[in-house]
């Protein structure tokens, strides 16, 4: 991610620092709302306050570090990242709406392969299907592990 040379601030570091402040604040408020107190010794909120303070301190560290030149993340193929996000989305979605493990894993395999530059989606779908089917049969039937079922799984 090339930065404007004039700014002199390493933006990713700054954003991470701000994110850490937000995380610390959430943790702090969560700890304040805890209602169960320990009868003896220290309560569950103590660790939360400690971690919140620790994270806030690191946030300060990041703000200072942002003043200096930081890591250049380099060129990024956002398209590939999107394909993998889509692949994971395919799996999660397929389990969510009850389409089952095989379809979800098939999508996951083929779309991940697409992210790495493959352009043969039908062929990869077929391989993914074969792989997922094999896993399903092996684990579900032989080892009695119940993987999420959809219409496809009920055929077996």
């Amino acid at each position: 991610m090339p930065l404007p040379a004039s700014s002199g601030i390493h933006r990713p570091t700054l954003y991470i620092g701000l994110g850490l402040f937000a995380l610390a604040a959430v943790t702090w408020f969560d700890a304040r709302s805890m209602s169960i107190r320990a009868t003896y010794g220290m309560g569950a909120d103590a660790a939360s306050y400690f971690v919140a303070a620790f994270i806030a301190a690191l946030g300060v560290g990041h703000v200072f570090a942002a003043m200096k030149p930081g890591i250049d993340a380099g060129e990024t193929d956002w398209g590939a990242v999107m394909w993998i996000a889509l692949a994971m989305g395919g799996l999660v979605g397929s389990i969510w709406i009850g389409l089952g493990f095989i379809l979800g894993s098939t999508l996951l395999f083929a779309l991940t392969a697409r992210a790495f530059g493959r352009r043969a989606l039908p062929f990869d779908l077929a391989i993914g299907f074969g792989l997922s089917l094999m896993i399903f049969l092996l684990f579900n039937k032989l080892l009695k592990l119940s993987l999420p079922s959809g219409p496809l799984e009920r055929l077996f």
């Binding site: 569950a44 994270i55 993987l147």
Partner: protein
């Protein structure tokens, strides 16, 4: 010696040809399932356990031992070759092991892991056979204050995995600690940071975090650079076997790893992860090549792998003598013993002496079998890296997510897994080390509960930590380890100014 005679009786049972075959099948099955990314030893043993049920106790016990060691070993293979540890105890192995694999030294890395596991398991199983009754007496004396001291030492040594920048290393650790807060607090029942989502009440599963950060994060990162800076692991360069130099650099870490892993594994709340961290730090400190750490130092694979396997055998000490499972794998093993009507506990060695010694003999045999079968397979495993990247990563993601789905088939868990994948990607992108997150998630809750248990028992008096010699010693060691580097640096500067 009485124990020796009984052990020989055990061997007499285990060495029968049929039982040897069962050991081989167990090791093969265990390795085959354990090698799948995202499927750690606990799940492997749980999945394969039913396979052994329908047989006579002797044979199934032997197959069971094979599955146990096979599953333990299989987990490190994917950590080394694909940077996707299936469980927390292999995270450290991935640190150096994968760097070696990327340099084309996957063969030696796998070999040192296999032989190290063998050596460590041999020592630790011997320890189990002869020291268990004594060890367990010491181990139960370990109070919450002592555990807290041990955690402090572990926290200090984690800094060895931080990489170049302390700020980024500490941030990774803090994220792990934060994740460790999520869920219902065991001691009071108070919910922390779950925001009313019931699926988060039991906290973050270490396996989910490790798989998300490593397998998915890695896939995202590699894909994002694929066309700009392709980094493909080189299948093999040079020999796939260990050179003379590799042997020379490995044998001491093996022994030290076994020495660290076995006693900590034998503690009722020791676990398998802490020994791997401690071993890694030790090897880094003692190595003649500290500059290689972070770039594929063989000691960093040999030590932690040995520690991992030694602690696995060590965890059988509380399991067999107290009936106390100290890891997920041990909990599954306990269920297994109950299937054979073996109730682990103080009377086990008295009531079922023959079965116990058969089990211990089986562990020895399975261990040998593992080495015999897996050294030749090293050549086969490294071929995995010849699979074209699109299919390789497609397969990794399918297996990695399947492990999560198998353990907990919930959409929330999958979303959490995806979120960890994104986190792993961002962290890699900006060069934040990954391992400290896992370390924080494991150590944070343990340190929190043990400290609060100690304070609860002392009715809130913090001096309890210093009144017990064990905890006082460990706290002093941790403090010294924390401060010493600064002092030495200061001294060196002081001397430099004097000159």
């Amino acid at each position: 010696m009485d124990a020796l005679i009984q052990l020989f009786d055990g061997f007499a049972l285990a060495i029968a040809p049929m039982n040897l075959a069962f050991a081989a099948i167990g090791v093969l099955l265990g390795t085959a399932v354990g090698v799948l990314p995202g499927i750690g030893p606990a799940l492997t043993v749980a999945l394969l356990l039913p396979v052994t049920f329908k047989m006579d106790p002797g044979g199934s016990l032997i197959m069971f031992a094979g599955i146990y060691y096979g599953g333990m070993y299989g987990g490190s293979t994917t950590a080394i070759l694909l940077n996707t540890p299936g469980e927390a105890a292999s995270v450290v192995t991935a640190l150096e092991g994968n760097k070696m694999a990327r340099k084309g030294r996957g063969g030696p890395a796998l070999a040192t892991a296999a032989i190290g596991s063998f050596v460590a398991a041999l020592i630790a199983t011997a320890g189990l056979a002869f020291l268990a009754p004594i060890l367990v007496k010491i181990a139960v004396k370990f109070g919450p204050w002592d555990y807290f001291g041990l955690m402090l030492i572990a926290f200090v040594t984690v800094s060895a995995t931080f990489g170049s920048s302390p700020l980024r290393g500490l941030t990774s650790l803090a994220i792990g600690l934060w994740l460790g807060l999520i869920g219902i607090d065991q001691l009071t029942g108070q919910t922390r940071l779950a925001f009313g989502v019931p699926n988060l009440f039991d906290g973050i599963e270490v396996t989910t975090l490790a798989v998300g950060l490593f397998a998915i994060g890695e896939a995202l990162f590699v894909a994002s650079r694929h066309f700009y800076a392709p980094e493909k692991p080189i299948p093999i360069s040079g020999s796939i076997w260990m050179t003379r130099k590799d042997w020379a650099r490995s044998w001491k870490p093996w022994l030290r790893g076994a020495g660290i892993g076995f006693p900590i594994g034998a503690l009722p709340a020791g676990g398998a992860e802490i020994p791997t961290f401690l071993s890694y730090t030790t090897e880094r400190k003692l190595s003649k090549h500290p500059e290689e750490f972070g770039h594929g130092a063989i000691e960093g694979v040999a030590g932690p792998e040995a520690a991992n396997n030694a602690s696995a055998a060590g965890s059988l000490v509380p399991l067999l003598t107290l009936g106390l499972p100290t890891s997920a794998t041990a909990a599954v093993m306990l269920a297994g013993f109950q299937q054979y009507n073996i109730q682990p506990g103080p009377l086990l060695f008295v009531q079922h002496a023959d079965l116990v010694w058969a089990l211990i003999a089986s562990l020895f045999i399975a261990n040998v079998m593992l080495l015999v079968l897996n050294l030749p397979l090293v050549g086969l495993w490294v071929q995995l890296l010849k699979i074209p990247l699109p299919w390789l990563y497609g397969g990794i993601l399918v297996f990695a997510t399947m492990g999560t789905i198998a353990a907990n088939p919930s959409v929330v868990e999958l979303l959490v897994l995806s979120a960890f994948g994104a986190l792993g990607f961002i962290m890699r992108r900006y060069d934040y080390p990954i391992a400290p997150v896992v370390v924080g998630l494991i150590l944070g809750p343990m340190a929190d509960s043990q400290l609060r248990r100690a304070l609860q028992m002392s009715l809130g008096d913090p001096m309890v930590l210093l009144q017990h010699p064990g905890s006082a010693t460990m706290i002093v060691i941790a403090t010294v380890a924390l401060i010493a580097p600064f002092v030495f640096r200061g001294l060196a500067r002081f001397r430099a100014e004097e000159d």
